[in-house]
């Protein structure tokens, strides 16, 4: 997927990530190409879902935006500030506005500290208000995430279930009134009934605290439920970006089509379609395929796909794909100039 390009970026974004590259050294002097030239943006108040299978680079992307893992190259602009060039104190100054929620709610809480101390810590570090004001804020966010502050603050994480721990993590992320919250697989460790509670909670918190969310997950139905826009990734590249409804109703990338047909549907009357994927192993990010990285599993791959990397181009308003031969109406495809994405 395979592709690069920045045709899909907009002007007035809160977060703008351009040509993000993250590489890790590997044994034998080789390089793992975890994220290779990914660009996306998020407007204020929007929820962007990033979806893909394990190893596609979606979590690495989230970590690189936070500068928890420094990008190899590329730019991350948040509220007009270039984060990749910030160091030390300057970077710490941005962090309160940029928070993260992690996948494993239990291990992301310190087992030896009381919940109240975990949640208040950021306020103490940033000297936000006096002690009374800090306590009031902690009480407010804990109540907002659906916990009883009086009974929660003096307990430790082992006394809580996974869903409750995730509520505490959310409270911790909200206590500094962030603008942008990056959620890295926040519900994948939870049971379905609890997953629904946390998804609803995130929607409520987004409205109440005017948040902008980047929601990273592998579950397509979960991503659709919470997102305004969705970006599909494969092996470190962007496949498709667009409004959630358009991407799911009219996928413009063969990988998205395959993912959608593989979703298990809880209805015995549902007619399952065979997943249109060439069988075989996922290529290694150490030696990714040439051209389009998806071509080795793509049912529609042609010779051009191995020679030329597809650039991101628009197929309908706000809906972009990085595919030479997108699975959409040929008339629509013909109307789109092939070079549309290359101009920038």
């Amino acid at each position: 997927m395979a592709g690069s390009g920045t045709a899909h970026l907009r002007e007035d974004a809160l977060l703008r990530v351009q040509d993000l590259v993250v590489e890790f050294p590997s044994a034998g002097g080789r390089t793992v190409h975890a994220v290779s030239g990914v660009s996306f943006d998020v407007q204020e108040g929007e929820t962007l879902g990033i979806v893909g299978e394990s190893g596609c680079g979606k979590s690495t992307t989230g970590w690189a935006v936070m500068q928890l893992r420094r990008p190899t190259s590329g730019s991350v602009v948040f509220e007009g500030e270039e984060l990749t060039s910030l160091r030390g104190q300057d970077l710490r100054r941005v962090r309160p506005r940029l928070q993260m929620i992690f996948q494993d709610p239990v291990s992301s809480l310190n087992p030896r500290r009381r919940i109240g101390d975990i949640v208040v810590e950021a306020l103490r570090i940033w000297r936000r208000g006096n002690a009374a004001g800090q306590t009031e804020k902690v009480w407010e966010v804990l109540a907002a995430v659906g916990l009883d502050p009086d009974s929660v603050v003096s307990r430790r994480r082992h006394q809580f279930s996974g869903g409750q721990c995730q509520r505490i993590s959310i409270a911790r992320a909200l206590v500094l009134d962030p603008k942008l919250v990056i959620c890295d697989e926040p519900v994948s460790a939870l049971d379905v009934s609890v997953q629904a509670q946390i998804l609803n909670l995130l929607e409520d918190m987004k409205a109440r605290y005017r948040l902008t969310l980047v929601f990273i997950a592998h579950d397509l139905a979960v991503v659709k439920n919470i997102s305004d826009r969705v970006m599909v990734m494969y092996l470190g590249k962007v496949c498709e970006v667009g409004p959630a409804e358009a991407v799911y109703a009219r996928p413009a990338h063969h990988y998205t089509s395959a993912l959608l047909s593989a979703i298990p549907v809880a209805d015995p009357g549902h007619e399952r379609q065979p997943v249109p994927l060439v069988e075989g192993q996922l290529p290694s990010p150490i030696a990714p395929p040439s051209g389009c990285r998806f071509r080795t599993r793509c049912p529609a791959a042609q010779s051009r796909c191995s020679e030329e990397e597809p650039q991101v181009r628009e197929v309908s308003s706000g809906h972009f794909t990085a595919c030479h031969y997108p699975p959409i109406d040929p008339d629509v495809a013909a109307a789109v100039p092939q070079s549309a994405g290359k101009a920038r």
């Binding site: 629904a196 509670q197 998804l199 139905a221 659709k224 439920n225 979703i263 549907v265 209805d267």
Partner: protein, 376 residues
């Protein structure tokens, strides 16, 4: 276990699955579980992880056991297999497999049945395979122990099995170690091992939970195909209702150690009678729904093992619970649809049932039952 010499087989169960139609129990169901209880002994009493579970499974059928974490589904699967440690575990009830009381068998007797008559596919193919033994050898081990095959015959059979579970280049792959294979390929090896001796019953415990969605559908298709080709019975244990829909003939929904609803898959999915099943179905986000659709979450969480409420165990979370639900435990009773049973004093769609023939009346396009009493 596989290195233990197999004694002469008194019941001659081990040979060709198609043969010996006269074996005991072939007239009844393949597997019959009656009043099974499995618990952990603790200082505060026995915590019953599986509490009075009964069901039957016929040859060639697939049963989906669905439940959230802590519902007892994995303990149930392991109790049936006899895979639980003896220490600190308390067990009662009956597990009849082709007329044999599995629950009373000694480990040495079970060993003759494991692999040949019933086998298991585990959740995590990385930890269930031996990391320092080539995968081909892990398959031939079973064949050589149970089938007394020669090394070369077993090698050939292993390659054939790997081919049947659609592993590309099986000859080369057989010489690799588990860490050289992807998660999906490892799970295919796990399935090949489980199928090696042609079991009549395959228990798959969350076989795709560790896998990506595209790989998941391939593995489930493979299990289904092998199940029908070999006319095996299969128990598919999962937390994901989407995994069993369309793949299981019958569904059993577990909650707090009990089966709270069971029946033909279509009937359970289309007209759930127990509010828990209905709530579980509604809490799943659906790709067909528009973005930002409010999910029908179930408030609260399941009861702790040692602190289960009297009466219906779902009552504290149930939107339509009444006084009776909080006092008396509902039995598993049948409705109008044959084979469909549930534990509920006030089952959903009860009014419609009295008014006319059920099933069709509820068969809405979306697959959901209109549920006036229990929505909010």
């Amino acid at each position: 276990m596989r290195n233990t010499p197999v004694a002469a087989d008194p019941v001659s169960l081990t040979d060709d699955a198609a043969a010996d139609d006269s074996a005991p129990g072939d007239t009844g169901p393949l597997l019959q579980v009656d009043g099974l209880r499995t618990g952990f002994r603790s200082s505060e009493g026995t915590a019953w992880a599986v509490d009075d579970v009964s069901f039957q499974l016929e040859q060639g059928r697939t049963l989906g056991i669905v439940g959230e974490s802590g519902s007892g589904k994995t303990m149930l699967a392991r109790s049936i297999m006899g895979l639980l440690p003896r220490a600190n575990i308390e067990c009662s009830g009956q597990v009849l497999f082709r007329g044999l009381r599995l629950d009373q068998m000694q480990p040495s007797e079970l060993r003759r049945i494991w692999g040949t008559e019933m086998s298991m596919v585990f959740q995590d193919p990385m930890t269930s395979l031996n990391p320092v033994v080539r995968v081909g050898r892990q398959i031939t081990e079973v064949l050589r122990a149970h089938r007394r095959m020669t090394r070369s015959a077993a090698d050939d059979a292993a390659v054939e099995l790997m081919r049947s579970v659609r592993i590309p280049e099986p000859e080369r792959r057989a010489r690799e170690y588990p860490h050289q294979l992807s998660g999906g390929m490892r799970q295919r090896i796990g399935i090949a091992i489980a199928l090696a001796c042609g079991p009549r019953l395959l228990i798959a415990d969350e076989p795709t939970t560790a896998l990506d969605v595209t790989v998941q559908s391939q593995i489930l298709d493979l299990l289904q195909q092998q199940q029908s080709e070999r006319f095996m019975a299969m128990i598919l244990v999962t937390h994901d209702l989407g995994v069993v829909a369309g793949r299981a003939d019958d569904i059993a929904v577990m909650y707090a150690g009990q089966i709270v609803e069971q029946g033909p898959a279509r009937s359970v999915f289309r007209t759930p009678r127990m509010p828990y099943t209905d709530a579980l179905l509604r809490s799943i986000p659906r790709v067909d729904d528009p973005s930002h659709t409010r999910l029908a979450a179930i408030a609260g969480r399941p009861p702790a093992l040692l602190d289960r409420p009297p009466g219906c165990r779902f009552a504290p979370r149930c939107p339509s619970a009444q006084d009776r639900c909080r006092q008396d435990a509902p039995p598993l009773v049948g409705g109008v649809d044959p084979g469909h049973r549930y534990r509920c004093w006030f089952p959903l769609g009860a009014e419609a049932e009295q008014a006319g023939p059920p099933g069709n009346a509820h068969d809405t396009v979306s697959g959901r039952v209109p549920m006036p009493s229990a929505t909010t």
